[in-house]
Symmetry: C2
Subunit: 370 residues, 2 copies
């Protein structure tokens, strides 16, 4: 029997039924019309990887009407960044390009520091510095992108305190499954996270903010929506779009460092050889067991990790993707060939990324909000 | 039957047995030899109002040996300052004068904001600004005194987070009597308070810090001493000296705004007339019911609030105080006359204080740590 999904901000267990989760959380499906409107942004947006939302329609209306809107997406830096971390940033960047809006990126060194027992302050700050370079390398506009670090942004504690006053320990406990043995930083963190989500409004005043976020992080959105309109804040409820998890190399539900690096993760720092080796060796294939069978019955792109990566991240041309899908289904395209296509795409992406990352150091100051 | 004392950082009930409290908390009595050594500092120090301590002897040794030592005393600003708030600051100032050491003064706008349901952020910041002027007016050395405000000191959250990681919710709950309906800011606050106590070491590195503090605040000292030497901090346990409460005008155990202003409090902003009226009308007298009885049997200075204020705060000359005491006991000095002595002393003090407070505004920048 399959385990039921257990999805919280700090734990995702196997087998996620996304439709059920959306119903359970009370979010809405993103309509076909909206997906159509997002064509030519980034495939992760228009191909349904972002599958559910809260008030995205209202945000889009304001954006289309030329009203002030912003985007907020953060990162809890506890390791080198891998492909699984990219999705919300690619969505944010694509929407910034389309609507010209400001993007705020809080780096929550504190969260990882509180939650990971053995993570030192120094290491959490080192990861923050490293991760920021990866984020800048994705091509955000320096004049419209504001990165803050929780341990150095001077307004953070004051903003978080205004929210903390509105949340009892009981509430935080029930929403986030806190337990009494968690440290009091962890207990406070929901207020910090809500302050992040409201950061654009703290800085620019009341307006619609969109948060592209993994579905597991939705409890933070709910909590923040519950308090955003409180008279002491007087903000508008944040909007959100929720993504599915990026499958790991071996095909488990979420690419995550908790399951071992080698068979699961593609780091943004991997070199060409590593990519080739990892994909060829570990990428879960939807192909048949033998060449004959594959040619006769065809492969299954739905479970094929290489195809999924192309669909969600790397092949933006719909026609090319459809060809790949059809040829794979028909058996004309072999697993090894499909992997070859992906390897080429990933390596092209990472080559560009690693080049941009080097020049990101020089741009750092332009991005840091002070 | 008298209520047993209930002393926690947020509540003090009637009838405090200080010796019992010292035993219960595991603190040591300040020795006669040490009190003798503090003569010519401030009477609140050498006359036993500071009655118990933790490692004060070690702090004094370092101070006398010319090693680096510092003093830390803060304020949670929720109202205009009154006489009851003065005690730790007068002690800190006197020890700064004697040993030339740095004094750190954190202003915890956050604590009052979290704990007082109806206190707005704006008001808590306003009180902070007002209170800081009163503190500066007490005569601290600008070059050796560093005031920080929790909502604007940029390092605060990072410092508090390092401590928060070391304290579980269970521990905070049991030490401070937190309950699940307290907000998560309040739950986090013990980490902020410990960060205050360790602020001199965060800034200047490992050395002995003395905290003059009301005995009700000792749980924060215990908590901080428990974690100060943790490998991630590597600080020395803070020293503390504990004061008794300043009795209210009407003679209850603690001058506090929770019992009504008129009959309890003397504000630092009171004018000459108010002082005269309040003392004459409300100051609890240890005198007899009739003039005849008073002259015959004498008064009781131990319960006489005017005498206590002279002893703790306003009459620094031991000989003069002894004369007052003896004359009062013998019945030669009447209650009204004793009150007259106090009125004159308080008004002289407040006149100077209110003058200094006006010029404090110009000095503000010199005191704020940035």
């Amino acid at each position: 029997m399959k385990k039921e999904a257990n999805v919280s901000p700090w734990e995702v267990s196997e087998e996620v039924n996304y439709d059920k989760l959306s119903k359970q959380f009370g979010t809405k499906e993103i309509s076909k019309k909206v997906l159509k409107n997002l064509e030519n942004t980034h495939p992760t947006l228009w191909r349904g990887n972002f599958f559910s939302h809260r008030d995205f329609d209202l945000w889009l209306n304001d954006a289309e009407d030329g009203k002030k809107v912003s985007i907020l997406t953060g990162r809890g830096p506890s390791e080198k960044m891998h492909l699984g971390h990219l999705v919300p940033f690619l969505a944010a960047k694509a929407l910034q390009d389309k609507y010209g809006c400001n993007v705020y990126i809080p780096i929550s060194e504190d969260e990882k520091f509180f939650v990971k027992k053995d993570l030192s302050l120094k290491d959490s700050e080192k990861f923050a510095e490293e991760n920021i370079l990866d984020i800048i390398a994705l091509g955000f506009k320096p004049s419209k992108t504001f990165i803050v670090r929780d341990f150095s942004y001077p307004e953070l504690y004051k903003q978080a305190s205004q929210i903390a006053k509105l949340i009892t320990y009981s509430e935080a406990k029930s929403v986030f499954g806190l337990n009494p043995e968690n440290n009091i930083g962890w207990t406070f963190y929901p207020a910090v996270q809500a302050a992040h989500i409201l950061l654009p409004q703290f800085i620019e005043g009341k307006h619609r903010t969109l948060v592209p976020i993994g579905i597991d992080q939705d409890p933070f959105i709910r909590l923040t929506r519950d308090i955003a309109e409180h008279s002491t804040l007087n903000f508008v409820k944040p909007s959100a779009i929720h993504s599915k998890f990026l499958p790991s190399l071996k095909g488990s539900v979420k690419m995550s460092s908790s399951e071992g690096e080698e068979t699961n993760l593609i780091y943004l720092s991997d070199n060409e050889k590593e990519i080739k080796r990892k994909i060829n060796k570990y990428a879960f294939s939807g192909g048949r067991d033998t060449l004959e069978e594959h040619k006769k019955y065809g492969g299954n792109p739905k479970v094929d990790v290489s195809f999924q990566y192309l669909k969600i991240l790397f092949e933006s041309d719909d026609k090319t993707l459809a060809e790949i899908e059809n040829n794979y289904k028909s058996g004309k395209l072999l697993s090894g060939q499909l992997k070859g296509i992906l390897i080429e795409k990933i390596n092209a992406f990472l080559k560009e990324h690693q080049k941009n990352r080097k020049s990101a150091k020089k741009q750092l100051k332009k991005f840091m909000l002070s």
